[in-house]
């Protein structure tokens, strides 16, 4: 397959609906791996993350890595959705769904895409706290950069 679906949007998404739209009327899919990234609050202090993005480049970068994924693994379906704007703690931020005839390709493609979404897609997170204060910009993690080297 060569087609994939990329959406960069403010509104929420529904993993079940997106999965159904990939698998409806298909009999060649043997494995579906979906990853959903959530806005996490570990210390009960975070109200929301504000996601700034570079419109246009965000879609292009995600599409570039989707293209790499479909060339590398025998995928039979691929959807990536990334949200922007103010996302309250507990809400969904990102969705990757990879379909293949067999599980390994689907697991690996989803893993690959998340590694590159973290480090190459132009999104930046700013913290908003429950007490009304605005925190800093979330700093990029070196280990995320290291993770991308697994795919060389």
């Amino acid at each position: 397959m060569s087609a994939f679906k990329v959406r960069v949007q403010e509104e929420n998404f529904n993993c079940e609906e997106e999965t159904k739209s990939l698998s409806a009327n298909r009999k060649d899919i043997g494995a579906i791996v979906s990853f959903t990234g959530l806005c996490r609050d570990e210390n009960q202090t975070l109200a929301a993350l504000e996601l700034e993005h570079f419109p246009g480049m965000a879609e292009k970068q995600i599409s570039f890595y989707c293209q790499q994924a479909v060339e590398r693994w025998p995928l039979t379906g691929l959807t990536v959705i990334h949200r922007f704007g103010k996302i309250p703690a507990g809400e969904q931020i990102v969705l990757v769904i990879a379909c293949s005839a067999h599980r390994r390709a689907a697991f690996e493609a989803a893993d690959f895409l998340m590694d590159f979404l973290k480090t190459k897609a132009p999104f930046w997170k700013k913290e908003h706290f429950l007490d009304g204060q605005t925190g800093g910009w979330v700093e990029a993690k070196q280990e995320d950069e290291e993770d991308t080297k697994r795919w060389q």
Binding site: E52, G56, K118, P122, W124, G136, W137
Partner: protein
């Protein structure tokens, strides 16, 4: 040239985008950063650690050593934190 700034670069400089005529002696992205840094304190603060800045020309990632050539749009931003 259209110059765009994102995240804390945008906040430190105080604008999301601007149009600037560049002097002809600017050859690479690094030259442009050095030139912008001299505009005022905000720019100097934004670019105080050029090695941490990421750059895109016409929406493609490039290195700081990249020649500007006839780039129409350049964007500066911190390391990305999506996903």
């Amino acid at each position: 040239m259209k110059i765009r700034y994102f995240a804390w670069l945008r906040e430190r400089i105080g604008t999301a985008e601007e149009e600037r005529d560049l002097p002809e002696n600017l050859v690479t992205v690094a030259d442009l950063i050095a030139w912008l840094s001299r505009i005022d304190e905000g720019y100097a603060y934004a670019f105080e650690q050029p090695e941490t800045i990421r750059v895109a020309i016409n929406q493609e990632h490039v290195e700081i050593t990249q020649p500007l050539l006839d780039a129409k749009e350049i964007a500066f931003f911190p390391p990305m934190t999506g996903g």
